[in-house]
Symmetry: C2
Subunit: 291 residues, 2 copies
Amino acid sequence: MHITIIGLGLIGGSLALDLKKRGFATRITGVDNNEQHAQIALKKGIVDRILPLSKALKKTDLVILAIPVNASIQLLPKIMDSVDYQTVVTDMGSTKGQVIKCIAQHPKRAQFVASHPMAGTEYSGPNAAIYELFDGKVAIICDKHNSADWAVQTVENMYQKLNMPLLYMDAQEHDIHAAYVSHISHISSFILAMTVLEKEKSVANIFNLASGGFASTVRLAKSSPQMWSQIFEQNKDNILEVMDTYMDYLNLWKSMIKEGRFAEIEQMMGDANSIRRILDTPPMERLRASS
Amino acid sequence: MHITIIGLGLIGGSLALDLKKRGFATRITGVDNNEQHAQIALKKGIVDRILPLSKALKKTDLVILAIPVNASIQLLPKIMDSVDYQTVVTDMGSTKGQVIKCIAQHPKRAQFVASHPMAGTEYSGPNAAIYELFDGKVAIICDKHNSADWAVQTVENMYQKLNMPLLYMDAQEHDIHAAYVSHISHISSFILAMTVLEKEKSVANIFNLASGGFASTVRLAKSSPQMWSQIFEQNKDNILEVMDTYMDYLNLWKSMIKEGRFAEIEQMMGDANSIRRILDTPPMERLRASS
């Protein structure tokens, strides 16, 4: 299968590596508006060739968008205009509502499959691309009923090749859950990083005192600002709602600490502990447990 | 050296394992008010024998307290009353101000060394004890000037055997930095866990959508409620101050998201990214860089 990947960063690059190695792709064409990234991807053998966008959309079986969500929304209608009638288009973005909206009335809508592989690291760019990034993580396909069966099948085959269990949901439902589980984690990490950087005027102290717990909680604050500001923009309403809940809890805890209600805090932490049974269950088993 | 460890959980148990294996301890006596934990530690060979507290304090070179901080404050004066004049006592607690205060006037004060190994996992109990928990992490010794040189030397030797770089600071200074770097991380994780558990009424959705980023940020929410409620109690004032900064940032972000100021958010995330150079530097190099 001939595949075109637009955006050769962490996601696009990692997809290219495994889809080629596992025989799903026989030729991978890369597109990146960052010329340096394109050249790195070519030199590292992540893609077979680099083409400008207009040429990369012809005579290809599958086009994968792996660029920040605002860029996807701008680009997707033009891509759908240009692709052949047997080409499948999918995107890897972390929000789905706006992407689907921007081509809802497009005559080739059925060739588009909205999806989201729930995998990543805090690094970005083609040098962050790694093998086996996706294995065992969940992939979500949204609004399947608006895509042609043969197009959905192609995207399903791709995710199966990556060893990703599949889930199906509405785009709207996806964006709500993504806000609850993924986006608020990033906000909480970024805020933690900013707080500590402000409070600890001396970097030496952070250096010395940063233990494993801090490192793990603040890891996501290393993520790409460009990518994440666009996710926050696309998923604004859901994110504001979950931030309200987060801040209500913070306010409650602050009162409890101030008033010395430590027994109540201990009990709440016991409730929070129940996150254990989720974290300690591997994704494959999670899917079985919840289906 | 004969060592008595009070509290055979994650920290006490892990200390026992490495101090024995590396030849620092020739005999380890364990004390735990949880009889089941004591028996597990004995059966697993973590300690050589179990004794009641009163008997475990005699004819021992070093007493290590590895129990929750409130319990340390209650127990420490009694321990100091009972130990021989050549015995060194140290504690592993995450807050230091109150512990030092409770024996400030004790005639054997100089035999006590306040310390804090900045290591741990989110698990607890003797079954959580592991080898090499401490290697490469930083250990802090507080208010060294109030301890006898020979007592400090014993504790320094212990931490060197564990491959821990040493830092020295005031107890007060320690508690401020611990609030900034360690305690707020735990609060942020616990609040995240509670938020997601509340928002996602369906556990199935968390199961399915919990990706690596969420897992890493919320990991600390698996920590022991008993241990952490006591740390919050002991370090109340410093924690409230850092929570204020954290909440100010959250409020600012909420306004920016609401008002669509995404370029500003992107810039702030870029600033937060500078946490990278701290996280990506190993502790040993951090110490060199900051000294």
